[in-house]
């Protein structure tokens, strides 16, 4: 555990500097329009920062295998949670095409305002089919 490695100031200062630089970088990069790359860059920077904090400030670099496994495990489960949930949403359009369901703009326009409406009329039969990418 951490007690086994000799404490030293240097890594803390270096990591701190790196974190500050990366924060500035993420703001600066966001100023430019890079399309989808904006998100990717922002996330790469955030993940890098988080990794630095975990490895050095939280001493995981010098910790037991069990601790390291714990960190990896929690990230993995986070991926399960988000990834598998998105597995549904990313394939909804394909699914609705097969089922002939109009793939509607989710949410908007439906719901509460349908108020006292009596019975709705089917949207045109072609709606769904007209929705491929």
């Amino acid at each position: 555990m951490s007690s086994e490695h000799k404490p030293s100031l240097k890594p803390y200062i270096l990591v701190f500097a790196a974190l500050m630089v990366l924060t500035a970088a993420t703001v600066v990069v966001a100023k430019f329009d890079l399309g989808a790359a904006n998100d990717i860059v922002a996330m790469v920077i955030a993940v890098t920062k988080a990794t630095l904090v975990v490895l050095f400030f939280m001493h995981v670099k010098y910790s037991t295998r069990l601790t390291q496994l714990t960190v990896i495990g929690s990230v993995l489960w986070l991926v399960f949670l988000i990834g598998v949930t998105m597995m549904d949403y990313t394939t909804r359009r394909m699914s609705d095409e097969v089922r002939g369901a109009p793939y509607e703009a989710p949410g908007l326009g439906l719901g509460g305002q349908m108020g006292d409406a009596a019975v709705a009329v089917a949207p045109g039969p072609a709606t769904a089919a007209a929705r491929h990418e």
Partner: protein, 239 residues
């Protein structure tokens, strides 16, 4: 497995000799054999707690990811109403506080008891600064009618963006609110540590509570490291 070992015992073993060497440390709890075992246990316990924290925030991030991908344009527009300088400053403040926290532990490791108190106080001040800035931001949102609910003013958005924008602000408040709550708890823990270290309880043989609180504090920092770009910097270039 076939090894019917006394000494080869796994995990908790800790030979009797080792047990005695430090057995009388005042901070050793009765049900542990050694201080080492106690420290390993609390460290593992803290890590397990952080795992639950990761997934706790995970639920929020999952929600964010879905709606962000569903309404990228709206989220970009709505994020224009957040204050990037304040967010960026707060990010810096939190990183500084992470450094001071790490330095407090370092001070304990090298037996500089005075410095522990100083670094802890610095951490508290930085944490409080973060919360104050956050409070100003919240206030701004209130006055601008950006708080979801009946007082939300949709007219500030492109008409068809108003409702998903309300969703964005719902997420904004839930995510930053829960994060701020964690900060408050962290500051409470730090205050308790200040009292303890003022009594000189921590040194290089025993600084477990410092280390545990440090893990928690850094974790809260990490959450913010993600919240900042995800909430504030969307479509920053288009402002």
């Amino acid at each position: 497995m076939s090894n019917p070992a006394l000494g080869a015992a796994g995990g908790a073993a800790g030979t009797a000799a080792a047990g005695h060497a430090v057995a009388h440390h005042p901070d050793l709890q009765h049900h542990f054999d050694t201080l080492e075992q106690q420290k390993d246990s609390s460290s593992l316990g803290m890590w397990m707690f952080l795992v639950t924290e990761v997934l706790f925030f995970g639920g929020l991030f999952a929600t964010y990811v879905l709606y962000r991908l569903r309404f990228p344009g709206v989220f970009a527009e709505a994020s224009h109403h957040l204050n990037v300088p304040m967010g960026a400053i707060n990010t810096g403040v939190l990183i500084c506080s992470s450094l001071t926290m790490a330095l407090a532990i370092y001070a304990a490791q090298v037996n500089r008891k005075k410095a522990i108190v100083g670094w802890l106080l610095a951490t508290i001040v930085l944490g409080a600064t973060f919360l104050v800035v956050k409070a100003f931001e919240y206030k701004e949102k209130f006055t601008h009618h950006l708080v979801p609910g009946p007082n939300f003013d949709p007219s500030q958005f492109t008409p068809d963006h108003a409702r998903p924008a309300e969703m964005f602000f719902s997420l904004y408040f839930v995510m930053t609110g829960i994060h701020a709550l964690h900060m408050v708890i962290g500051i409470g823990l730090l205050a308790w540590l200040v009292v303890q270290s003022n009594k000189g309880r921590f040194d290089s043989t025993y600084y477990n509570p410092l280390e545990m609180t440090g893990l928690y504090w850094h974790f809260v920092d990490i959450v913010w490291i993600f919240l900042f770009p995800l909430l504030y910097l969307l479509g920053y270039h288009a402002r």
